[in-house]
């Protein structure tokens, strides 16, 4: 057994174990922390495949940004998660069905490969030569030439989703005092200070 195989089984075992802990941990914050551990080990698996760019992006995007927001929300929410789990088992058939479909699809893909090794060449985009290009280069080349339109469309959809979320949550309440930096900066002596001549014994 080589070192690579050993490391693979280590990462894979931790990924599966922490994935299981995500759904079984009682404390939702612990769930999110285990999810982060799973992300990390998935990144390790990517590294073993030689896909270092994807591994780093996985850590940056999912662990560095998405999971922080998850953690943020889970910590702030005052939801009784034990109560939520009461009807947990009634979702079992649906979940099992989705899992089964995924399994069948994976088997189909893997089966076509093992029966017909040339099937890999039928893919729309051939894998570039790994020896000459780093995988950041290779990914960029495919993404910005052959798949430019889907890539841009995905970006546009994300933008629309973002604007949609802002529009849905933005409320302009009347009577809220907001700080206007420009107003403060443009104030002059004349508008800010009022000089009064006070007569003795009278006050203002």
């Amino acid at each position: 057994m080589t070192v690579t195989a050993l490391v693979f089984y280590l990462f894979a075992a931790i990924t599966v174990a922490s994935g299981f802990m995500v759904i079984s941990a009682r404390n939702p914050v612990h769930s999110v922390l285990f999810l982060i551990l799973a992300f990390f080990n998935a990144a390790g698996l990517f590294l073993l495949l030689g896909a270092e760019f994807l591994a780093m992006i996985l850590v940056i995007v999912y662990v560095g940004a998405v999971a922080v927001l998850f953690l943020f929300v889970v910590m702030m929410l005052d939801v009784n998660f034990v109560e939520l789990r009461q009807g947990f088992l009634q979702y079992l058939p649906v979940g099992a069905l989705i899992g089964l479909i995924l399994l069948v699809e994976l088997l189909l893909v893997f089966g076509s490969w093992s029966v017909l090794p040339e099937a890999g060449n039928l893919a729309a985009a051939r894998a570039p030569d790994a020896a000459t290009l780093s995988n950041t280069d290779a990914l960029g080349r495919i993404l910005y030439t052959q798949y430019l339109l889907p890539f841009q469309a995905a970006g546009a959809i994300l933008l629309v989703a973002m604007i949609g979320a802002i529009v849905l949550t933005l409320r302009s309440r009347p009577g809220v005092k907001r700080q206007k930096i420009s107003d403060q900066v443009t104030r002059t002596m004349e508008t800010a200070v009022e000089v009064k001549k006070v007569q003795p014994g009278q006050g203002i």
Partner: protein, 331 residues
């Protein structure tokens, strides 16, 4: 196989031991600079010029009792400082100290650094939550929001630098600055990066997570003895890391100042340390000079000023490079 492993271990120790010493003396530097700017002497009793002060502090913290609050989430409470400290150390694996003098010369070095620095928030947010107390929790939430906000502009600054280099390898980034340091053509980005680095490391004027006038000490309140020391070491480790990153990305890393080759005889690592020290001094300088930001001002600066500005500068740089056909092309 066994020998290779031994060599790697030796290299790791050769980085970590000086690094820990540097962290210890950075705490002293911080206090000394701060004191001098306020016309005080600073620590001057323990050892000559107070040089042994960091070790006295470390020993004191080591011998104190570790107090774990009754309502605390024990596991997470103890993991948080360890995580902060570890993350501050492992980032150094990819930092090139000289031409090719680096522990792991990986293709995506800058992304690795970005990933590790974006993980730093977990130590703080976990510590804040696990303390099971109001002030640490508020400090943790503040820090999460702050670090996520400023990471965005740091990311754009990095992409701008990468556009000019054409590689994600840190060694290549330093080599690309042979003719001119990126601090000169990309000066606005240099300023944005430096200020964002202050915010990312929770240094004044952005030390909202621990703001002692509002939150007592933020996420650190419930920590004592060695767990507190680990938080502190991690924090200063991150500060040195950010200084090193600034010098690598913008000040030419281990490249000498090109005075017609007059200064080329000084070895690369010394240049690198000198530049890092300069940035480090600026960190302390800022701490002694600028008052703390208000929280909404901090968010305004991050999202409404830095983000649009760095995005604009990124597009401008890309446009400039394409127009004048200066894009670095590889392969």
């Amino acid at each position: 196989m066994f020998l290779e492993l031994l060599i790697i271990l030796a290299k790791i120790f050769a980085i970590i031991l000086p690094l820990l010493l540097a962290v210890a003396f950075t705490t002293l530097l911080d206090r000394k600079v701060w004191a001098m700017m306020q016309l005080r002497k600073g620590p001057n009793v323990v050892g000559p010029f107070g040089l042994l002060q960091p070790f006295a502090d470390g020993l004191k913290l080591l011998f104190k009792e570790t107090i774990i609050p009754a309502g605390a989430n024990k596991g997470v409470f103890l993991i948080a400082p360890v995580l902060t400290f570890t993350l501050a150390l492992i980032a150094w694996a990819v930092i090139p100290f000289g031409d090719g003098i680096v522990l792991a010369d990986i293709n995506v070095g800058i992304l690795y650094l970005f990933a590790i620095s974006s993980l730093g928030v977990y130590g703080i947010i976990m510590g804040g939550w696990a303390s099971n107390s109001k002030y640490p929790f508020l400090g943790g939430l503040r820090s999460a929001a702050q670090m996520v906000s400023y990471e965005v502009s740091i990311g754009f600054v990095m992409v701008t630098v990468l556009l000019c280099v054409g590689s994600l390898n840190l060694n290549d980034i330093v080599k690309a600055q042979e003719t001119v340091w990126f601090a000169i053509p990309l000066f606005p980005m240099f300023v944005v990066f430096f200020i964002s680095a202050l915010a990312e490391t929770n240094r004044p004027p952005f030390d909202l997570p621990e703001a002692e006038s509002e939150l007592v000490a933020g996420f650190q309140i419930e920590y004592s003895s060695i767990s507190f020391a680990l938080f502190m070491l991690g924090e200063y480790g991150n500060i040195i890391l950010m200084s090193a990153m600034t010098s690598l990305l913008f000040l030419g890393g281990w490249q000498p100042i090109s005075l017609f080759g007059l200064l080329d005889w000084i070895p690369g690592p010394i240049w690198f340390f000198a530049k890092t020290f300069l940035v480090l001094f600026t960190f302390c300088w800022v701490k002694a000079t600028v008052p703390r930001y208000r929280y909404d001002q901090l968010m305004r600066l991050g999202w409404k000023v830095f983000l649009p500005f760095s995005l604009f500068w990124l597009v401008l740089t890309a446009g400039f490079l394409v127009t004048f056909d200066l894009l670095p092309v590889k392969g």
